[in-house]
């Protein structure tokens, strides 16, 4: 009776103000950002300064290797030009990336449900990576024309692999004790897939997305190299024979920044979505 009473008294709504996870203030974030990236940024700055000094001291011709200041001046001088071409390339990258993610999601899901499909398709996924995409790109021109489509295809060819393989690895690496636990709770295979497998695979998926983000830029440039009328790859290709070296370097710099931004965006998304995962090893237990 008294225990019943006690339960009644204690059964109050859960206090939502209980701090669930530690609060990250801006200062803490800034400090951890500097700790994580500070040394790399310092090294980059050092390298650029050294570049500038060496080019000037050794009196290197600007069409062979322009000094950093000239490249930056080029960027500052023609922001419209770079922005226009960057937006074309970015479009190819983002659409290709989305197609790759969709493809990876469908493939990995299908292979999860069908061992037969996995056994028959997996070798071809690996084999697809032995194709030198650069030689395939001119064929794409013949097959699907000169529009944005062949560029997207090249981006997809570069990016689907890391995403698909990582997602599949993630789906396979689920702890078997967890699976047993779900089974004893009466979970259907679909419930296990949505509530356990996908969640467990997320750290792997993000690892694949990070790799894909970086190589997607290469894919877009190769696509533009073969046939294009715009885009940063096209800009590089057409400026090199004209010895507009500072323009080439400025375009490469823009591409690097785009790849870095993609990477950072995915990393931020990852740290947000996976903030409660203790590392990639997602198990409890004391050991």
């Amino acid at each position: 009776m008294s225990s019943q009473q006690q339960i009644k008294e204690l059964t109050t709504p859960v206090d939502a103000s209980i701090p669930a996870s530690s609060e990250h203030t801006f200062a803490i974030r800034a400090r951890s950002f500097i700790r994580a990236w500070g040394s790399a940024m310092l090294l980059a700055a050092l390298g650029l300064v050294l570049w500038e000094i060496l080019v000037r001291v050794l009196d290197v011709q600007t069409w062979i290797l322009p000094p950093v200041s000239l490249i930056l001046a080029e960027l500052a001088d023609k922001p419209d030009l770079f922005l226009r071409h960057a937006s074309v390339t970015a479009q190819e990258i983002l659409i290709g990336f989305a197609v790759s993610m969709t493809f990876a999601g469908v493939m990995a899901t299908a292979m999860f449900w069908s061992r037969l499909l996995e056994r028959s398709v997996y070798p071809f996924l690996i084999a697809s990576q032995t194709i030198p995409v650069f030689t395939l790109a001119p064929m794409l021109l013949i097959w699907i024309g000169t529009g944005i489509a062949p560029k997207i295809v090249v981006v997809v060819l570069f990016t689907f692999f890391p995403v698909t393989i990582n997602l599949m690895t993630g789906l396979k690496s689920v702890d078997s004790d967890m699976v047993d636990m779900f089974r004893t709770l009466g979970a259907s295979r679909w419930q296990m897939f949505t509530k356990l497998y996908i969640r467990s695979a997320l750290p792997y998926l993000f690892a694949g997305l990070k790799v894909a983000a970086v190589v997607s830029v290469i894919g877009a440039v190769i696509g533009e190299w073969v046939s294009a009328a715009s885009g940063l790859g096209w800009l590089i290709k057409t400026s090199t024979p004209k010895f507009q070296t500072e323009l080439v370097f400025a375009a490469i710099f823009t591409l690097s920044v785009m790849a870095a931004l993609m990477f950072i965006a995915i990393a931020l998304l990852q740290s947000r979505i996976l903030r409660n995962y203790p590392g990639s090893n997602a198990q409890g237990g004391e050991s």
Binding site: V14, I18, D180
Partner: protein
């Protein structure tokens, strides 16, 4: 034609109501018809009945491991049975068989007199490690079983929140597993196991991973929590004192192949305080269990 008419008598539907109620739940979400039929069968049949279960595991290039050999046991509703045995004696295999994770090579398991062909998902099971999902907070970890059973989120949350008081984890419902101590995580794991109101609860060395102090605390806590229920509980441990602190009946299992070599009714009052270990009856029981375990080791 005659074949098709036979199938329904042997296949048992997954969500048979007779396995879903217990005294913890005064307001079951399922229909009353199932409850009544369960009440009728309850007195006649044990909640769990294992008959001559044998299980061996085949290994490539090695002789098969005989994990469990012709084990029979019954557990009634409201009873707490503890299985004690040395490490690797097949205790966990026996629990896996009862849970339906593993089918025995020979023998069978029935739940309340009905063949337990599809018993997986009807027997609550708490593993050695907590197996909490790190991406879910305590509340949604605890309600996982209810969510899987298709119970509305609000109802599940309300039920879990109420029981969390008794389990001593009410202040942590929004916390994530990574921030909890091992003892707290085990409490959450037990809450998750008991919330779906199964008649049978299996505990596989639930305190193994904990330090001695937390362990003693959780043993007391467990008997407090579970004494108020009328489910059938089967716990596995290698700790003789833990068995006597908690069990109504203790079964001693031999080393591989696991057989039941001693069955001991524990006639000690409840609740059992910590100093019951000095009680002469307790000491006597303990000696009986230890010598049964020793006998097996020397033979």
């Amino acid at each position: 034609m005659s074949q098709t008419s036979e199938i329904p008598s042997t296949v048992h539907p997954r969500n048979d109501d007779s396995f879903s109620s217990s005294a913890l739940n005064t307001d079951p979400p399922r229909s009353d018809a199932g409850r009544n039929s369960a009440a009728l069968t309850r007195s006649e049949f044990p909640a769990v009945s294992v008959r001559d279960a044998t299980k061996s595991f085949v290994r490539p290039d090695l002789p098969p491991i005989e994990a469990v050999d012709a084990v029979s046991m019954d557990v009634d509703l409201g009873e707490f049975v503890v299985i004690v045995g040395p490490s690797g004696c097949g205790k966990s295999t026996l629990l896996n068989i009862i849970a339906g994770l593993v089918e025995p090579d020979t023998g069978n398991v029935s739940l309340q007199g009905k063949p337990g062909a599809q018993r997986i998902g009807r027997v609550a099971y708490m593993h050695q490690i907590d197996l909490l999902l790190p991406w879910r907070n305590v509340l949604s970890n605890a309600t996982l079983g209810l969510e899987i059973a298709g119970i509305a989120r609000a109802d599940a949350d309300a039920k879990a929140t109420e029981l969390a008081q008794r389990f001593g984890i009410a202040d942590f419902l929004n916390a994530y597993p990574a921030t909890l101590s091992g003892g707290m995580r085990q409490r959450v794991a037990l809450l998750r196991a008991v919330l779906p109101d199964r008649d049978v609860l299996l505990l596989d060395e639930p305190f193994k991973a904990l330090d001695a102090i937390t362990r003693a605390e959780l043993q007391r806590w467990l008997s407090d929590v579970l004494d108020r229920t009328t489910r059938a509980t089967v716990m596995v441990t290698h700790d003789v004192e833990e068995a006597l602190m908690l069990g109504d009946r203790v079964l001693v299992m031999s080393p591989r192949p696991g057989r039941i070599v001693l069955e001991l009714d524990v006639d000690l009052p409840r609740p059992r305080p910590r100093d019951i270990v000095r009680d002469s009856k307790f000491v006597d029981y303990k000696w009986q269990l230890l010598s049964a375990l020793d006998d097996d080791l020397t033979h």
